[in-house]
Structure formats: structure tokens, C-alpha cells
């Protein structure tokens, strides 16, 4: 079974705090993704990584950064959390283009910024 784990299911932080969300996979997939999900907006891609130390901006990267030091781990960083970053954050993994696998999602982290 594919296993994608996220460090927290629920997180409450204060405005201005630095927040780390971590995603770990056990499938040796090259691609890892961070999405946020908001009611009425669906899933929006924040950042993705196709290799260690490689990253690309998604559709809404502002206010976020990422880190991928090891193939199995992909971290999302909120340098200074703001209330408009309150959301559900989903990590996903996938293989390289040319394969036909779907993306596999982690359980999600519901972040509240007060």
C-alpha cells in the first residue's frame, strides 16, 4: 500500500509564527507536491519538487517556501503565518512524466492561524 504521511492532522498557530509542515513517503516516487484546499476553490498547487533539492512554483507560491533534502521528505514552510493561510494542506506524491500513475495523497493537515 502507498503510504504518505503528514506530520500533523491539526495545527493551531499564531500570526507571525514560522510553521513547518512535513510530508514523508515510502514509495520512492520522484515527484512530491503541496496543495491547499479551501471551500469553493478546490485544490490549488503551492509548490512541487521532482528531485532532491529541486523545486518549482505552483499556482499560489506566495507566502510559502519548500525544502527537499531527502527524496522521501518534502517540507512546506510558512515563514510568517497569516490568517489567510488558514486552510487544509495536502501533500501528494507521483512518479515521473511518462508513467501513468495517479497522484497519491496524504491525510492532510488542517492549519488554523489565529
Amino acid at each position: 500500500d502507498v503510504k504518505v504521511t503528514q506530520s500533523s492532522r491539526y495545527l493551531v498557530k499564531r500570526t507571525g509564527e514560522k510553521v513547518f509542515l512535513e510530508c514523508v513517503q515510502d514509495m520512492d516516487h520522484e515527484n512530491m507536491f503541496w496543495y491547499r484546499q479551501d471551500p469553493g476553490l478546490g485544490l490549488r498547487l503551492i509548490y512541487f519538487s521532482y528531485d532532491v533539492k529541486m523545486k518549482e512554483k505552483g499556482d499560489i507560491p506566495e507566502g510559502y517556501s519548500v525544502s527537499r533534502e531527502k527524496k522521501e521528505r518534502f517540507s512546506l514552510i510558512l515563514e510568517s503565518a497569516s490568517t489567510n493561510q488558514t486552510s487544509m494542506y495536502l501533500c501528494a506524491i507521483g512518479r515521473l512524466a511518462g508513467f501513468t500513475d495517479t497522484q497519491y495523497f496524504g491525510p492532510g493537515t488542517r492549519l488554523t492561524v489565529l
Binding site: 515527484n31 498547487l45 521532482y50 495536502l90 512524466a97 511518462g98 500513475d101 495517479t102 492532510g108
Partner: protein, 115 residues
């Protein structure tokens, strides 16, 4: 910019009825994915459609892809309460052999099946 539109966004139906969810997209693609999300849970893969005319079926759900019309459908047959969930379609246009791919998602269809 790729746009993916689902309709309807909200669907309330009775058990035993049939209905179809539509997914339209704006750019040529022959890779489309359907996911299911239960309340408070993550996304679960339902179908992977990889070519024009592809049809996949699992239980009461059947998905199809028409790449010329840029349209995928998710058909529900004889709905049961357990099918209540949010359904997302997602399109991949970055399949040119590069080292990465990413999906663009529709906003989702919230399906409620009533007894």
C-alpha cells in the same frame, strides 16, 4: 492557462437514481483523473483515463474521456448513500516526456445521496 470546470458543483439525488457529473477542460490533454473525497478525509484515486474513448468502471461509477470534446464524465448508476462524497476531476497537460508532471483540479462536485 488550463481551466478545469466541473458541473454541477452541488448534486443532491435520491437513492436508485442515475446522474452524470461533467468535467470540461480548456487545453488538449489525454490524461484525466477522478478522485473521491469523504468529509474530513483526503483524496482517494478512483479512475485514470489515458486516451480518447477510454472508459473505466468500478461498481456504480463509470468514467469516460472524450479528448476531442475536452470532456470527461462520471456517471453514477442507481446511487446509494455510500456514494455521498466530493468528486474531483484533474487534468495533466505536462506529459511531454519531461521530468515532472502536475495536475490541475476542478473545484469538485459535492454529491449527496438521500434515502
Amino acid at each position: 492557462e488550463l481551466k478545469v470546470e466541473q458541473n454541477p458543483l452541488f448534486l443532491s439525488m435520491q437513492e436508485g437514481k442515475n446522474y452524470t457529473i461533467y468535467c470540461n477542460y480548456s487545453t488538449t490533454s489525454d490524461r484525466l483523473y477522478w478522485y473521491r473525497q469523504d468529509p474530513g478525509k483526503s483524496l482517494e484515486s478512483l479512475f485514470v483515463l489515458l486516451s480518447n474513448g477510454a472508459v473505466k468502471q468500478e461498481g456504480r461509477l463509470m468514467a469516460s474521456l472524450d479528448t476531442k470534446a475536452r470532456l470527461s464524465t462520471l456517471h453514477i448508476t442507481a446511487a446509494v448513500h455510500d456514494l455521498s462524497a466530493t468528486y474531483f476531476c484533474a487534468v495533466d497537460i505536462s506529459y511531454s516526456g519531461g521530468s515532472n508532471y502536475k495536475l490541475t483540479f476542478g473545484k469538485g462536485t459535492l454529491l449527496t445521496v438521500n434515502p
